[in-house]
Symmetry: C2
Subunit: 190 residues, 2 copies
Amino acid sequence: MKLLEDRIIKDGKIGEGNVLKVDSFVNHQIDVNFMNEVGKEFFRLFKDEKIDKILTIEASGIGVACITAQYFNVPVVFAKKTKTNNIYSDVYKGKVESYTHGVTYDIVVSKQFLKQDERILIIDDFLAKGSALLGLISLIENAGAKTVGAGILIEKAYQNGGNIVRDMGIRVESLAKIKSMTLEDGVEFC
Amino acid sequence: MKLLEDRIIKDGKIGEGNVLKVDSFVNHQIDVNFMNEVGKEFFRLFKDEKIDKILTIEASGIGVACITAQYFNVPVVFAKKTKTNNIYSDVYKGKVESYTHGVTYDIVVSKQFLKQDERILIIDDFLAKGSALLGLISLIENAGAKTVGAGILIEKAYQNGGNIVRDMGIRVESLAKIKSMTLEDGVEFC
């Protein structure tokens, strides 16, 4: 999606440890008009898939998921991150490793909100090594629901998480795929 | 807002410790169509206030803030919760006490995203003792910006946070105000 690539070039910042910061329009300040263009694009890509529900993960996935859900006319469910294993009952659980923050945490979704045979579209802002996405896919699997696909804003293609998930037979659509990224040369897209 | 009161009666659940659970449409699963009605109502209430930006707090405020922002045609900024005091620089900081979870945490917003003299509308899902709202107001104050008002989905009026903020001269509009709530008698609105 050219609009997103242009925006990353214009407003993205490469920080320490080769972190791409897009916090002026994606994950701290949210440009809601821009997210509507993103939502329309996800709808164009997945509109024939009979989506029942959009699943995302707190916190930065929630904005883009809600805006996108308007086009599909479905509810959003967001998985909650928790370090406290025991306080939730009646939940589906997954495990996510955050390489950026160097922590592992559980993600949970109440069993009420993921039902057998539902067709689920995952929406998230970033895909790198794929840990969050794999965690969400395992929640959906545990519920007996079906992962119809994943709509991702920015995929760091060089970290291979996208291909791991594609090799599982799951459709992954990333609106910007980063081939390489350095402080010196900036961002190069696939 | 009758639509919200009816929905709370229909789908809200009173849990242990007199917690009102609205996680089937507000803060775990999000009914995006319903949130559009909420957004329209916030716009009706605040449309003459020349809002520059909507401020909320992760995670459950983000959905309603993003949907609402579409009516105002402004960006959303969400304050991040953090227990680690030192990793953020160039941020405005506030303190929030969560009575539900029995913890105190810092909230931060990057100085880039709150500017002097900006007119800020706060949007959040719950208002009880007012700790989160007061934290957000102090961030805005630190930035030299102006809190134009606060749009709240559900105010627990018996916990008095709303009145503390109103007594500061800040306009607080809550779409449902709960007068009392017990397992036996259910929810009574003001």
